[in-house]
Structures are given as C-alpha cells and as structure tokens.
C-alpha cells in the first residue's frame, strides 16, 4: 500500500537555558494513504511537537520523515515551505483564515504560494467551496461567517493543493457539539473519498471517529491501535 507519510525513529530535543527537553524520543510509524488517524496524549506528551514535524513546520533532531520519496528532515527552509504548499493541508483549531480575504481567496492561498493560479484552479476553488456548502458565501469575509462556516472554509483550503494528508489540530475545539459533528461528518466524507486525515486531539469524543488512534506519552508512542467498531457519522 502506498504511504502518505513514513516516520523513522523521530526525535526532537529543545534546548532551554541549561536544560534539554526531549519532546520526542524516537517515534516511528507509517501512515498509509486513505488512513484516518487520531493522535492523542496528555499535555507534555509530545503531541504538538509531532504535529509540527508532520506539518513540516520544524525539523527533527534526528530520524527521518518521508513524504513520498522526500526526506523532510534534510530540507532547507524554502523546501519546507514548498512541501507545505504542495503536500500538506492544514486545519487549525481557530480556523486561521486571513481576515482581509474573501472565502474564495482564502481557499486559493496555498496555490498562490505554489506560484500558480489559473482559470482551472479558480474553478477548483469554487468546486471545493461548493463541496463544503459555502457556494453562496463566496465573497464573504471570515468575520461575516460563523465558526462552523469558517472551519469549512479552512477545510476547503486544506484540500485545494490535493495534499498527501490533511493535518487537523483540534479542529472542533472551538465549536459547539452540533457544529463539531458537522465538521467531523465532513472529515468522514472526505476520508471515504480517499483523503488521508491526521487529527490531533485530546477529546475521546472526537477521536472515536478515527480508524486508528496513536497515543503518546512522554515523547514515545504508548499505543497504536486500529479500531474495529468506530463511530461513523453519516
């Protein structure tokens, strides 16, 4: 099976004054294409560090991480930027839309940083907006949208570059239960369409929708289990 990402003995140390914090102490796992993974763990477990590494926002201290054939660990800053623009779809807890841009323009941003934007791309952005149900809000600004709607825009944005995986950081953390369910349903649909989803969360409510749960503790993988009976929202 083709892999969306492959992590090999990944470590990350932070040097704080005299002390070295070993946030990740050797983490290895594969993420096959089409997987739906929840990464869980208490605070201090290395969850955020792992998220940053998966998102190519940071480089590991040692070990390797492959996205396709490319080893992220050896990339320079510009290459990391390009990888983020082309291979990764980010969804954040606080949506992180750009305030001065409209819905469509927000969806376009990753393409803009890939250095391309043609008519076909514009059409694709409109398609994605329609897919997340915002076809009649195209020229609204983020401030004019509800939290749920903003998160939908963010999801559309994360899909526009056809990434290897969607990396969602507490995507429902700021939403009420009903809206959270809507968003999770959207993820479910996307996964059924073959999209790989990696979700970082500390809520069991959320993680039970995933196909696989990786639990971290003190910078190491505590458990990595596939679930037989998960909650599927339709």
């Amino acid at each position: 099976m083709k892999l969306a990402a492959k992590l090999e003995d990944l470590t990350k140390h932070y040097v704080l004054k005299s002390e070295t914090v070993r946030a990740l102490r050797g983490v290895s796992f594969d993420i096959p294409e089409g997987d739906y993974v929840a990464i869980m763990g208490p605070s201090g477990s290395g969850k955020s560090t792992l998220l940053n590494l998966l998102g190519c926002l940071d480089r590991p201290t040692s070990g390797a991480m492959y996205l396709g054939d490319a080893n992220v660990a050896t990339m320079n800053d510009n290459q990391l930027s390009y990888t983020r623009a082309t291979r990764i779809g980010f969804v954040f807890q606080s949506y992180n839309l750009i305030q001065q841009l409209t819905v469509v323009e927000n969806i376009e941003v990753p393409l803009y940083y890939q250095g391309r934007l043609n008519k076909r791309d514009r059409a694709r952005c409109l398609e994605l907006a329609e897919m997340v149900g915002l076809q009649d809000r195209l020229s609204h600004r983020p401030a004019q949208l509800s939290g749920g709607q903003q998160q939908r825009v963010a999801i559309a944005r994360s899909l526009v570059n056809d990434p290897y995986f969607i990396l969602a950081d507490e995507p429902t953390g700021n939403l009420d239960t009903a809206t959270a369910d809507e968003i999770l349903r959207l993820f479910e649909n996307l996964n059924q369409l073959g999209k790989t989803i990696i979700m970082v969360t500390h809520e069991d409510e959320v993680s039970r929708h995933a196909k696989r749960i990786i639990r971290l503790r003190d910078g190491l993988i505590q458990t990595d289990e596939r679930k037989e009976n998960r909650t599927v929202l339709n």
């Binding site: 940053n52 998102g55 926002l57 940071d58 800053d77 510009n78 930027s81 390009y82 983020r84 623009a85 082309t86 980010f90 954040f92 992180n96 839309l97 750009i98 305030q99 001065q100 841009l101 941003v109 990753p110 803009y112 940083y113 890939q114 250095g115 391309r116 934007l117 944005r157 570059n161």
Partner: protein, 443 residues
C-alpha cells in the same frame, strides 16, 4: 498575475486598517509635500536674494577705457592722445558674444551746467535708454532718455535729484533748458531721477559711484555736439584726449556666464587694441562669490530640512510596520504554514510599505505643487489677522514667491519610495524571520 495579486493583497491589508494606513501615508505625504514646498520657498528666497545681488551689479561686466601708461612714440609727441574703447569694439562685442543680454555704451565727462544764475559742475553722461535699467535708475517724473532721443540726437537731458535741487530751487525743471557752458549749448529737461544714494565700493572690483551730479543726455547727441576729443587747459599747458567710449557695461544673461564672458571680452579686445593696454575688463568677483555662497547656503539648509522631514516620515512608516508585523504575527504564521517562503513574507510587507509611500509621495507631490497658492493664501490670512506681524518681516520674506524646483518632484518622490523600502525592510525582515510555530501560537 501573481504579481498583481500581491499588490491587491497588500492594498487590501492596508484598507483593513484605514485610519492607521492614512496616518502613515500622512507621514510620507508631509515629508514629500514639505520637501517640495520647502525647496520651492527656498528657491524663491534664493532667487530673490540672487536678484538683489544682481541689483548690485553681479551680472554686469564693465569694460573701461584706461589711459595707457606706456605711450607709443607717435601718440606721445602729439598733445591729443587717442585711446580707449571704440564704437567699433562695442559693435563687435554685441554682435559676436551671445551671452550678452544688453550692452551699454557710456561716454562721460565733467562739465559746468547752468540754469539762470545757478551753476554746478556736473557729470555729463552720454548713454542709451538701457542705462536706467542696467544701473537701476528710477525716474521720479518725466521719462528717461528714449530711443527716439538717441535716434534723433535730441538735445534732451535727464537730471539727477541733487542737480534739480541746486539748479531749480524754486521752479519745475521739466521743460526748462539747462546750459552747458563749455559748449554753449542748451538741453531741455525731460526727466528727473529719484534721489539715489551713492553705491558703496564692493570689495576691490567695484568703485564707489556717486550719481548725485549726473546729467544724462543721449549718447548720439554727445557725439555730435561735443565730439570725442576733449581738450583741457590746466596750469598753462593744454592737454587733450580722444576717447570714443569711457565704458561699456555688459549685462550677462546669467551669473554663471559672467566669468566666461569676461575672458572672451578680454581676448577680443586684446586682438583689437594690441599691446596698448588702454582697456580694462572689470568683473564683480566678490558679488559673484557672494551669489554663489548664497545659493549653496540655501541649497544646504533646504537639503537638510528636507532630509530630516523625509527621515521622520520614514520612521513613521517603520513604526507602523513594526506594529503591524507584531499585530499580524498570527497571519504570518498561517501564511508560512500554508507554504509562504520567507521571501514571500518580505515581499508582502514591502509591497505594503511601498504602496503607502508611493501613495503618500503622489499626494505629497500634488500638494507640494499647490505650495505657491498655499503661501499666498497664508500670507493673505496673516495680513488680515495680524498686519503688524507681516510688516515686521524682512522684505525678502514678505514678498517671497515659492518657485517649484522641477527636479525636486522626482527627487522627493523617489526618496520617499526609497525611504519606504528602507524603513519597511527591517519590519519585513523581522516578520520573515519569525518561527512559524511561534507565530501560529501567537494570540
């Protein structure tokens, strides 16, 4: 296309905070408008000062006849000595040197002037109508020697104020006739000069001149009625000289050309007069130097003020951009996460500062061009509110007309954009150097 989007995005970001953007633009605007109008006012004052220096004769070259010291044999034996400038020299100079704006032939001599029973020793000056203009002579009543007077060789004269006082204590001189004793000749008074103090000697190049006993007559009349040859009897012996012109005053088109023209004149005269050193070219060196110094001084002062204003505007931009960068840390993080390179971030912030400084620059140029109007309005207002204040100002300030220096427009504009870029670079660099993880976490 993407380039266009960068700009559109930059402008959108600026419009997100219209007040802040407007204030920043205002900084550059004041800088540019300030530079243009300060330079315009400076240029106005400077030109006025230059004019005043010119009034002292800085743009004049005087070519004088000088009695030669080493007399040629033939001349020494004769008791009438011919020397000095010739009418031919005058014609040659006027025709061949293009930088000469006007040339003024002068022939002068001391003569007894009489009216009724009053007699004075006056300086009779044969001249052309331009004389009044070149020597800044103002007519109180009547008119100066006219072209017609010269053409027809009229027996007309114009009197200096003091001559009038002494010859006509009780009468109106206009239309009366004064008598030149030596030549038994009458001249009708057609004009009276305003009282004019003698000029002081300026440095070594210009002698003090006293105009108080002047009687001006057309130069053509002088030639016909009096002639070139003057014979004086002193102490029993008779001595004579033939001089066609005593002086040619050349007015040069600009102060910058004075020195060069003088050299040219000297060369041409040397050719005509050979070894006989009977002419001298006098250049108002001190005045030229003063004019140059004044100009440089104004340029330096205005340049200083201008650069301070622009730097202040630039610092304004930097302040705002630094604040903007801090405030938009989150956005920078998001953009980095979505694939923006460092250079993309730099470009984005630079575009914003450039947009602001270009806008400020354009508006500033517009307002700068209105400066002459603004100065007039301000003067009118101050005049009506506080007339004493205006009256107390030196003349040069009271009457100043700003003159837009054409070069100041592209200069101010380019500098403003340059300053926008320079002061925008640091905040943009700061933004780009941010750790995307930290930036994303920023609240």
């Amino acid at each position: 296309m993407l380039w266009f989007r960068t700009w559109r995005l930059g402008i959108k970001s600026l419009l997100l905070h219209p007040m802040r953007t407007a204030l920043t633009v205002l900084g550059i605007f004041i800088g540019v408008a300030g530079v243009i109008s300060l330079l315009a006012i400076g240029e106005g004052i400077s030109q006025e000062a230059q004019r005043q220096i010119e009034g002292l004769g800085a743009d004049n070259i005087m070519v004088r006849s000088v009695k030669p010291l080493n007399l040629p044999e033939a001349a020494a034996s004769s008791f009438i000595l011919p020397y000095g400038l010739l009418r031919e020299d005058y014609a040659l100079l006027v025709e061949t040197i293009p930088t000469i704006k006007s040339a003024l032939p002068i022939r002068e001599m001391r003569r007894m002037v009489r009216y009724a029973d009053h007699t004075i020793e006056g300086r009779v000056v044969g001249c052309t109508p331009e004389y009044a203009d070149v020597t800044r002579l103002y007519i109180e009543r009547g008119h100066f020697i006219s072209d017609a007077d010269v053409k027809m060789s009229q027996n007309h004269c114009v009197l200096a104020a003091q001559v009038v006082e002494r010859l006509f204590p009780y009468e109106d001189p206009l239309g009366r006739r004064v008598f030149l004793q030596e030549h038994k000749d009458y001249y009708t008074v057609v004009g009276i000069c305003r009282d004019r103090p003698p000029t002081a000697a300026i440095g070594g190049s210009l002698d003090a001149q006293d105009f108080s006993n002047d009687v001006y007559i057309p130069i053509s009349t002088m030639r016909k009625r009096i002639g070139d040859t003057v014979v004086m009897s002193s102490g029993g012996s008779r001595e004579g000289e033939t001089v066609e012109l005593n002086q040619i005053t050349l007015r040069i088109d600009s102060i910058d050309n004075v020195q060069k023209t003088a050299e040219l004149v000297e060369q041409m005269l040397e050719k005509n007069h050979g070894k006989l050193k009977d002419t001298a070219v006098i250049v108002p060196l001190e005045l030229l130097e003063q004019a140059r110094r004044t100009k440089v001084m104004f340029m330096v002062i205005m340049g200083l003020i201008a650069s301070v204003t622009l730097v202040v505007g630039g610092i304004g931009i930097m302040n705002i951009m630094l604040a903007t960068v801090t405030e938009r840390t989150r956005e920078i993080g998001v953009r980095r996460a979505l694939g923006a390179r460092r250079s993309d971030i730099v470009r984005q912030f630079l575009v914003e500062t450039i947009a602001m400084s270009v806008l400020g620059g354009l508006v500033g140029v517009g307002f700068g061009l209105l400066c002459p109007l603004a100065v007039d309005t301000a003067r009118a207002i101050v005049k009506s509110v506080a007339p004493d204040l205006i009256a107390g100002l030196p003349e040069i300030m009271r009457d100043v007309t700003p003159i837009i220096v054409p070069l100041s427009i592209p200069f101010a504009f380019c500098i403003s954009v340059l300053i926008g870029v320079m002061f925008g670079l640091y905040p943009a660099y700061r933004a780009a150097q941010m750790d995307p993880i930290e930036a994303l976490r920023h609240e």
